[in-house]
């Protein structure tokens, strides 16, 4: 074990300004336990009075070695680890990983499974944005929004539970399709949500969007220009709020996104401002767009199988095992040894609620991945925080941190 060393200023010399050593500015820890850091994040703040001179994030408190653990598991069994990455977007993580596996081994996905995947990941996107909005309101002292958001989020978690038996760690999307077909209660539940939710979004907007107290806290705070955002690898709503029209669902459609009609909310194409308010409003608009996709996918939901028929990669249905010798062998082989993947590497990415969620997957010819790397969007989105908080007040730092919508499980992996 490492010895606990005393903190010396030498460590921080290249991070903070020289004024910190003359006593002109103050070094202060924010976190790791702090209600508005959205998890265990420590920020080393250099303050001049109440103005932030430097804000240096210190991450890794939630590092659990998911990438290393996945190397020791078969492709099927490694999937449960992906739920634990970004715990606000579990089906989205499953989708990213399964698409990577499918691309590596060359596996097909039936249309019905694709539509179910789209519905569930879009619902999960709404749930994730609801947590964003709730926590955002909470950080800006609008307590009631938090309660309303979690009320609607519960409806989505109920739908996920209906399909998979789990509210959060679903592992419902599997390589080659989904675990099982959705139950018959699924459609009425989603229809009910589609009916109720638009009015609720209007309610949130009535509470927040034109609220003068809130606007005072948001407009002109934490301005992120497109150039800086791209160079820092910022993606997702944070990038679109800065005026860059980039959404992987439109740019490189996957899972049949090309057949759905939806817009990508982009702010400030001309002014290229990208402040905290813009990031907030992009999230609000994405509620409506995601709901549009869910409704279209549900209307189009094709009949048919929900898993690939390729038995070398997809376990046979339970009913087949009792009557077919081959099915029994496949079942046994897949759940003990697993399936081999070629000795090659691929990179596949999806649009998560936070940005580009990429999976770098490398096979070594055997049943276990040689290397899995999750390119998680929060990691890069957080790295820009020092640039956009300089010169703002500590209270504004809280608003900016809430607006870039980080999840620490996503950052630390």
């Amino acid at each position: 074990m490492a010895q606990i060393e005393e903190v010396n200023y030498e460590q921080y010399k290249h991070l903070v300004s020289e004024r910190a050593f003359t006593g002109e500015t103050m070094l202060l820890n924010m976190g790791p336990q702090h209600p508005s850091t959205h998890g265990v994040l420590r920020m080393l703040l250099e303050l001049d009075g109440e103005t932030v001179v430097n804000a240096i994030p210190d991450i890794g408190y939630l590092h659990t070695g998911i990438e290393k653990n996945m190397e020791a598991k078969t492709y099927l069994k490694a999937e449960v680890m992906t739920d634990r990455l970004d715990y606000m977007n579990t089906t989205g993580n499953n989708l990213a990983y399964c698409m990577a596996v499918e691309k590596l081994v060359g596996l097909d996905v039936p249309p019905r499974a694709q539509a179910i995947r789209v519905i569930l990941t879009e619902l999960q996107r709404i749930a994730s944005h609801l947590v964003f909005l709730g926590a955002f309101g909470l950080d800006l002292a609008a307590m009631s929004v938090f309660l309303y958001c979690f009320r609607e989020r519960e409806m989505i978690l109920d739908i996920l539970e209906l399909c998979s038996g789990q509210r959060m760690m679903t592992t419902y999307i599997r390589p080659g399709g989904v675990w099982r077909d959705v139950p018959e209660e699924f459609e009425p539940a989603v229809r009910n949500f589609i009916k109720i939710f638009p009015k609720r979004v209007d309610e949130y907007e009535a509470l927040l969007t034109k609220n003068p107290i809130l606007l005072d806290r948001l407009v002109g705070i934490g301005i992120l220009d497109a150039q800086t955002a791209l160079s820092h690898g910022v993606t997702g709503p944070t990038l679109r709020a800065s005026g860059v029209d980039w959404d992987l669902r439109k740019a490189r459609p996957y899972m049949g996104y090309e057949q759905y009609d939806f817009n990508v909310p982009v702010r400030n194409r001309d002014s290229r401002k990208g402040d905290t308010f813009d990031r907030y409003i992009v999230h609000i608009e994405e509620f409506r767009e995601s709901l549009k996709i869910v409704e279209q996918a549900l209307n189009k939901l094709p009949k048919g199988p929900v898993q690939s028929e390729n038995r070398k990669f997809v376990p046979p249905p339970r009913a087949e095992i009792g009557v077919s010798m081959e099915a029994l062998i496949h079942h046994f082989k897949l759940w003990t040894e697993g399936f081999p993947a070629p000795k090659a590497s691929i990179y596949s990415a999806v649009e998560s609620p936070r940005g580009e969620l990429g999976v770098y997957l490398e096979g070594d010819g055997g049943p276990k991945p040689h290397r899995v790397h999750m390119r998680t969007p929060s990691f890069d989105n957080l790295s820009v925080i020092n640039k956009i908080t300089q010169g703002h007040l500590v209270a504004d730092l809280v608003a900016i941190l809430a607006s870039i919508d980080i999840v620490l499980g996503d950052i630390d992996r």
Partner: protein, 170 residues
């Protein structure tokens, strides 16, 4: 390989005598470590690869030449294409020049690769570990780093494990 990639790969081949691989519509170009910054600058400035999507590495232990590949996954928003650069490096203490001057995101990503694989990035402005605690020994994602686990403490082995804890040695 489609037409959009062909031009770029040709340019890289001419300038850096690079080789390439093609797998499932992805193009992986192999570049020497000392030329990587030049190659990234060319791709960023001339071919509009504005986004460094991912920067990671992979370990081929016990193979020593090359032991690691450093992987740069680039995206071009303007052209909507991706390109992967791979830098093979040899030995246990490899060094690669830093890409922080081309992409700001390389700062944290290179810190992560250093932390996990022990690959040094020369000229990095902030060469500290990022995820593991400071003062930790070893680099967890290397293949010769054990997966390891902590033995659970039950009633029957409580004292045995208690003796191994740090506070027992004081």
């Amino acid at each position: 390989m489609d037409k959009k990639h062909e031009k770029i790969v040709q340019a890289l081949q001419e300038k850096f005598s690079a080789t390439y691989e093609d797998f499932r519509d992805e193009v992986h170009v192999f570049i020497k470590a000392e030329q990587i910054v030049e190659a990234l600058t060319l791709l960023h400035d001339k071919y509009e690869f504005e986004l460094l999507s991912a920067l990671t590495a992979t370990d081929y232990y016990p193979q020593q030449t090359p032991r690691f590949h450093v992987v740069y996954q680039l995206s071009s928003l303007a052209k909507n294409i991706t390109l992967q650069l791979r830098v093979p490096v040899n030995g246990d203490q490899p060094k690669v020049p830093t890409a922080t001057r081309v992409y700001d995101t390389a700062n944290w990503r290179e810190r992560e690769v250093f932390d996990m694989f022990g690959i040094q990035f020369e000229g990095h402005p902030d060469p500290r570990r990022i995820l593991s605690p400071e003062g930790m020994e070893g680099h967890p994602l290397r293949k010769d780093f054990p997966l390891g686990y902590e033995e659970p403490q039950f009633t029957f082995n409580y004292d045995d494990i208690d003796l191994k804890k740090i506070y027992a040695k004081e």
